[in-house]
Amino acid sequence: MKQSRYIKSLLTTLGLILICLTQSCDEFLEQEPGSQTSINEQLSSKDGVLEALLGAYTSLESTVRSERYAIYADLQGGNLKFSPNLSSSSLGEISVPINLENVYNFQDLAQSSDLESIYDSNYDIINQANLILEFVEALTDATSEEINQIKAQALTIRAYCHFLLAQIYAQNYSYTADASHLGIVYNTTTLTNGITYPSRETAFATYTLIIKDLTEALSFYNEADILDGPEYSYFNLYNTKAFLARVYLTKQDWQNAYDMANDVILNSGFSLVSSENYISEWEKTDTPVSEILLEFSIPRDSGDNVGGSMSAFYGYTSDSDYEKYVASEDLLNLFETTDIRKNLFLEQPLATLIDNELEDVNYYFTKKFQDNAAFVGLRLSELYLIRAEASIGLENLEDAKDDINVIRERAKASLLTSTDNLEELLLEERRKEFCFESQYLFDLSRNQQDIVRNDGCISQTCNLDYPSDKFILPIPQDNIDLNENLQQNASY
């Protein structure tokens, strides 16, 4: 009797164990890390997904605000030259900042590309967006509006980063007639689906995919309020449309570019900064110009201390405390005397070494990016000039002239009276309006123009005729080495 009781209880226990094993194995085997969070855990709740989305914005912000990206288009295009050195050992000398030295000389190396970090971090952000897109549908604690809103923003981030990469690593869209030249790797998957060794899309396919993502995003935007903070610091319906207009323009899809730009101008509710406020709006220390559509918030700690801003490259505090980049006279000389945009330059005499003597020479800092200035993503003025450029493409020259005049009028520059040389004038207007806003090199290549750098150019190669392999940069050699499917750009 006693024996059988023991047997019974033991067998019962064993049975219970087996049941428990088969039933709750999964839970028992689920162990979460401590200070870090696993992807599954992080993206299993709405709050977690929103944190991840904010993380993507932070990465995007720090990428576009990095010297290597923020300066690149203006430096290459000829808008910038360098202020004299401040360090005692080379006081007054003018030298190329080390971070962009090879790029500036059109001698970037695949092995150690100046912009390698830009390549890597953009794909990092793309992966963050992809992870969100992969998990967001399954959220149970979010409304469908919220899910759509998250999807819309993640898709836009993904498209934005790919566009940025396409501009740096792929020749302009019209480089070949059918855009069959190399584009970039378009990544829409994550490692949770296994490792892939992608090859580059054609330029055509790259832009098709960017537009697809953006169009899809536009269909998802809604009224759901998911993240705190200024509206312009996140992607939304209108800045996405504005961005799409820029993409269409780059693709020289004139009608779509026109329509998108027109939509934003008419319907976004934003209006251009007025002439009177133009300078003061730019001089504001902590907030962007009122016509801003997209501006990524600079990092601040809980004590509101700024963790970095555009003034790190363009700032002027005193003659012993200023930054590296100033306007070239190539740019300065474009402005008519009446042009109020001339007042955006801060003229400062700085000790410069000339023939081994220190002499004061005037340099021109920009007021756009003093103090706590952030990277300007998109502002309404650009939409007028996109519409103008599209109109030229559509051969509505009068419309184009009118749109250019909207910007010129505000700047108190002389108005265009004829449609002669409109393309050239438009390019110059863009240069004047968006200088320091990371656009000019791309404007040049889109319009198949040569790079001409005169004033202050200390590059071994100042001018570069279009087309040239050096309009774009090498894919980092590490990536080429690791992935035999990946093709390097010509001449690298």
């Binding site: 024996q3 047997i7 401590g34 992807i39 992080q42 993380g55 918030s297 201390n305």
Partner: protein, 1117 residues
């Protein structure tokens, strides 16, 4: 060796001529040839003469056997069996030989006749007792010889059995017990038996624990490759703090790496390193250590985790400790190392690096016995590195200053020998007390060991308290066992700057007697540090299990065990503001007063809980006496949880006394919104959890004890794997054939012969938790001041355990009754090794942990034991083992280059061992320029040219840290009551790379000394020098072949001389012995150190090893 003895005729009257041939040593009579020549002699006389000339003893019942009967026999050169067959050919007597006993009985024909006449019954009772310790033996088998009938003793070692038959007096009882010599007992007319069994000293009859799930086998019957040490073979008197150091060299194929210093992490490699040497973050790699199981409890491994503050690197992270310090060596009954697939595949995904099963001593029935021992010794540092003396240093330093364009400084006359100041004489002190006893239902053993080690390194000491409690309780057939091993280790180590070579021209004291400043950032005057800083670690541990077992019937047993290993460790450090180690730059303000940032308190805590729960059903049955089957099936759940805490406070108002972390406060900066009051305090915590669910089974079969088969199967599901691949199936099979058990096996030379082989898979799942998941880091104050998360580690859903396929083949043979040899060949193919690989950054990540490499370890293992002389007065036994090891990386998956660069000595490249040392072939010093000359592809380059042309990716293999062969030996001598044992280990081949910073890195001499080898520097044109010109622009590259030393050595690890007092000389004691022990006696290196210079002997251990000479006393009562 053979010996012929002619027995003089007159000894056995005039009729007897017996010639004996003795082929070997002691007691080897069974196979000796006999010649008998008797004519009508009484049988008893013939038997007596045989007894005289052989070791045979005749047993017979005088009532049945008429020994006075006149018998004739004439045989020449016959084996005893043949001779006896002839002797009894035409009689009614038959005989049975068992070991040395020859039992004479009446032939069957006659018994059968008696049988018909009378059928008898008799109830017999008895007790089976172990002869060595007088304890009754529960579970001993009593069988009627020649049948399967019989009884098993109960808890009290007693049995009762009803004998039936016609001739009960002639029945022989065969009494057997695992680990004891089987004994035959003639029933005769007895009804009550007290039978003593003797321990089997024959290695083959030793019991080997084959799994922690309750299986054990006789050594001869083990199919797998298992190396075993019994308690008596372990050098428990060696002055070490944990068992791993005592077994160095004593187990074939087991390489115990000698870490110097007390209580450091254990390093045991079984059959080579089971995983790749990680290229970075060695603490975060896959575990290369065996699974250690103590009485069924899986010991937790102390390892760092991938998290700031807890990654084991940097000045303020925890110092890792040796988990084996939780058990005292005195408490260990046996240590079994499982090596091949047949042995370890039952441990599935945890078995790749081998498994060590430790069993602790248990109590047994009888009067309570006590055992005590104390040991006291002194230790000294040996083989210290010689540094430049003050004059030499000053000379070299000035050469450097002159050559680099600075002005020289005259020698100040100071010559400080920092080593002597920091090292002295250590004291080793150990006390051990144990008690054991029990009655039929209950038995216990408890023990306490207290160890107090003052290291030769001044200020460093370690106190260790280990207890052991073992209780077994029987309620009817239910067995309840409890095993507890609580431990407490207190380590104090303020002398932490031993490996930094302070310059000799610096006086340790100022004129006023205070400690001088050493002027090295982050370090303090080492003497001041010993005096003023603290670094104490308290570790509380408990290793315990409770188990229940119940026999359902004779063939089936069910048992379950719950084991827990709990450790709580706190390391508490204070860097005093009184010396530079605690003088940080900057200031803080409190109550408006500005103070320097002096004093730092750092507290690291680790709390680990590892439990495992297993349940299994064990089956055991014999069919028809020829088929033996046993097996088990079971489950195991385990969970390992480690919690980490870190607290640090820096900057105190009164920094010269130990402050609490919370005392590190300062004024709040009112211009910010943050509260800066506790800004100098840092807290962090993290966790590392993992869990596993497993099912396992094993089956053993043997046919007539000749052919053995073993099969293992295990399923593991683990939280550390990716969700795609979280189930691992492993298994193995083994077969063996005991040739010497075959009927027709007849050899006078070989006593035992067995061949065996096994094949199977195991895995290595100890790859660190969460690696497969892909991680986010979360931050406060992110974008727009909101909380945010960004990706960090890449996910790899298919990340899986490392697979280790093991093949083993071996032969065991014993010959001449005194030599035991075991030879094995193994080949471990390891695949899916986890490595960090660069991946295309288009994925969003730069590297990924993945299963991307394969390698193998293979080698031969030879172990032998020779009983040279075995007599009552003098015994001499030698055991020796040697193992070879070859390993090679066979595959590194795609993903770019086959060579992982990074300027480090160990890399991974196909075709080379993972322990290959990469570097540059050094040719000499250019007599013209004084610069290093380096060779690459047959071309000799000046160091500067080489540096311009090549980088670390061009390095070539210059050596290998892994030895070609390694092993050890143990020689024991016993003369009357005196015994001496000498243990040692050796290594053949293998290289050791000395850091260049100690030899010729001149640019660090502003505040660091160099070894005296640096003094051989190039001075003038034409000099044939060993070290280059003393300047900064002779590039310093670390891995020159000149820094490489041959690590071939022989080490005498322990010499122990023991004297056992004769028992009758001390009345109240059962046993008393005194001993003298020398631990770490010395090293012999093949690579000799040049006169007055350092060689591998000195360079090998930066923390000098200690030689300890001790004396002790051991008593039992």
């Amino acid at each position: 060796m053979s010996m012929a003895i002619t027995i003089p005729n007159h000894l056995i009257k005039n009729l007897i001529t017996i010639t004996l041939f003795l082929y070997c040593l002691n007691g080897f009579s069974q196979n000796k040839k006999l010649s008998l020549n008797f004519n009508k002699e009484p049988l008893s006389n013939i038997l007596k003469s045989i007894e005289k000339e052989t070791n045979y003893r005749f047993i017979y019942n005088t009532k049945k056997i008429d020994a006075s009967k006149k018998t004739s026999i004439s045989v020449k050169n016959k084996t005893p069996r043949e001779a006896l067959t002839a002797l009894f050919l035409n009689t009614d007597i038959t005989f049975i030989i068992n070991n040395n006993q020859v039992l004479l009985t009446k032939k069957n024909t006659q018994t059968r006749a008696n049988n018909l006449q009378k059928n008898q019954e008799r109830l017999v009772k008895g007790t089976i007792i172990s002869a060595s310790d007088n304890f009754p033996l529960p579970g001993a088998t009593i069988k009627i010889k020649g049948t399967a009938k019989g009884a098993i003793t109960n808890i009290d070692g007693q049995f009762t059995y009803l004998l039936k038959g016609s001739n009960i007096n002639n029945i022989i009882l065969e009494v057997s017990y695992l680990g004891m010599k089987t004994k035959d007992v003639l029933v005769g007319n007895q009804s009550n038996f007290t039978i003593y069994l003797e321990e089997n000293t024959n290695k083959l009859k030793e019991v080997v624990i084959t799994t922690s799930y309750g299986t054990e086998k006789l050594k001869e019957e083990v199919v797998g490759s298992i190396a075993t040490l019994q308690s008596r073979e372990i050098a428990t008197n060696q002055a070490s703090e944990s068992i791993d150091k005592m077994i160095e060299g004593q187990l074939v194929g087991v390489l115990v790496e000698n870490t110097s210093g007390i209580g450091g992490p254990v390093s045991i490699n079984i059959r080579g390193q089971g995983s790749l040497t990680p290229l970075s973050d060695s603490v975060l790699g896959t575990s290369t250590q065996p699974l250690i199981i103590v009485d069924g409890v899986i010991m937790s491994e102390e390892s760092a985790i991938d998290s700031n503050f807890f990654d084991g690197s940097g000045t303020y992270t925890e110092t890792l400790a040796n988990p084996l310090a939780q058990i005292s060596a005195e408490n260990i009954e046996s240590l079994n190392v499982l090596k091949d697939a047949a042995a370890v595949s039952i441990y599935g995904a945890d078995g790749a690096n081998g498994v060590i099963i430790i069993t602790t001593k248990k109590g047994s029935k009888g009067k309570t016995k006590f055992n005590f021992s104390t040991q006291l010794g002194i230790s000294n540092a040996i083989n210290q590195i010689q540094y430049l003396n003050g004059k030499q240093y000053s000379e070299l330093r000035n050469e450097y200053l002159a050559n680099t364009g600075s002005s020289t400084v005259p020698y100040n006359g100071v010559d400080t020998d920092w080593f002597n100041l920091l090292n002295g004489t250590g004291v080793y002190n150990k006390y051990n007390f144990a008690a054991s006893g029990g009655n039929g239902k209950f038995n216990f053993r408890t023990s306490v060991t207290y160890l107090d080690i003052e290291e030769p390194q001044k200020g460093n000491n370690s106190k260790q308290l280990n207890a052991g409690i073992n209780i077994n309780y029987h309620i009817n057939d239910l067995h309840v066992g409890l095993s507890l091993n609580p431990s407490y280790v207190k380590k104090n180590a303020p002398n932490i700057y031993y490996n930094y070579a302070f310059i000799p021209t610096l006086s340790p004291y100022n004129d006023d007697g205070s400690y001088s400043s050493v002027g090295v950032t982050g370090l303090g005057n080492p003497l001041a540090a010993i005096d003023q800083n603290t670094n104490t670690t308290d570790t509380y541990g408990i290793l315990g299990s409770i188990n229940l077992a119940y026999p359902i019937n004779d063939n089936l047993k069910i048992s379950t065990l719950f084991g827990l290993n709990y450790t709580d460790k706190e390391q508490d450090r204070y860097f005093s503001g009184e010396n530079e180690s605690g003088q940080y730059s900057g200031t803080f303000t409190l109550n408006g007063v500005e103070y320097p940032n002096y004093g730092r308190r750092v507290i690291n805590q680790r709390n680990s809980k590892k439990w495992n729960w297993q349940g299994q059903l064990l089956y055991n049955k014999q069919f028809n006496k020829i088929h033996n089957i046993d097996g088990l099936i079971g489950f195991e759940l385990s969970e390992d949880k480690a919690d980490f805490d870190y607290a640090s406070g820096r900057g105190f108002v009164n920094p010269n006394v130990i402050n609490a972390v919370t005392n590190a406060i300062q004024d709040d900066d009112i211009t910010t919104t943050d509260d800066e009051t506790t800004g100098n305090q840092t807290y962090d915590s993290d966790i590392s959890y993992n869990s596993r669910v497993s099912f396992f089974s094993q089956i053993n079969y043997n046919y007539k004890k000749r052919y053995y088969f073993l099969g293992n199967f295990r399923r593991d599901e683990s939280s550390v794997f990716g969700s795609d691949t979280n189930v691992a199936y492993n298994g193995g099979v083994g077969i063996s054939w005991i040739i010497s058990n075959e009927n027709n096996f007849n050899s006078n030379f070989i006593n035992f012969l067995k061949i065996k082989t096994s094949y199977g898979t195991t895995g290595n799942s100890r790859i660190g938790s969460y690696r497969s998941k892909g991680l986010y880091d979360t931050y406060a104050n992110g974008y727009n001041n909101l909380d945010e998360a960004s990706t960090s580690t890449a996910p790899n859903g298919s990340l899986s355990w490392e697979k280790n396929t093991k093949f083993n083949a071996g032969i065991d043979f014993n010959f001449l009754n005194s030599v035991q040899v075991s030879l094995e060949y193994y080949y471990d193919a390891i695949s899916d090794l986890i490595t960090s690989r660069n991946i295309p950054s288009e994925t969003g990540y730069s590297s990924l942990q993945l299963n991307a490499a394969s390698m193998y370890n293979k080698g031969l293992e030879l172990s032998t034991k020779v009983n040279w002389i075995q007599s009552d007065k003098f015994n001499w036994t030698t055991s020796f083992n040697i193992a070879t090891l070859k390993s090679k990386v066979t595959e590194l998956k795609g993903l770019g280059s086959q060579y992982s660069t990074a300027e480090r000595a160990l890399a991974q490249k196909v075709g080379y061992s993972t322990t290959t040392i990469w570097g540059i072939n050094w040719v000499g010093i250019d007599p013209g320029t004084g610069r290093d000359l380096l060779e690459k592809d047959g071309q000799v380059y000046d160091a500067v040219t080489y540096n311009n042309l090549f980088d670390s990716a061009d390095w070539e293999p210059i050596g290998d840290t892994q030895p070609d062969a390694y092993g050890g030996f143990n020689n024991s001598f016993k003369f009357k009551n005196l015994s001496l044992s000498i243990r040692g280990s050796f290594q053949i081949g293998g290289d050791f790379l000395v850091e260049d910073e100690i030899i010729s890195k001149y640019n660090i001499t502003s505040n660091r000394n160099l070894s005296v080898n640096a003094y051989d520097y190039w001075r003038n044109q034409g000099d044939i020098a060993l070290q280059p010109v003393v300047t900064s622009n002779n590039p310093t590259i670390s891995n020159y072949s000149k820094y490489l030393y041959d690590n071939t050595y022989l080490k005498i690890s322990n010499i122990n001389l023991n004297y056992n007092f004769p028992l009758n000389s001390v009345k109240f004691l059962n046993n008393l012995s005194v001993f003298l022990d020398i631990s770490n006696v010395g090293y012999w290196y093949k690579d000799k150190s040049p006169y007055d210079r350092n060689g591998i002997r000195e360079f090998k251990f930066k923390y000098p090893q200690a030689r300890t000479i001790s004396m002790g006393i051991n008593g039992k009562f």
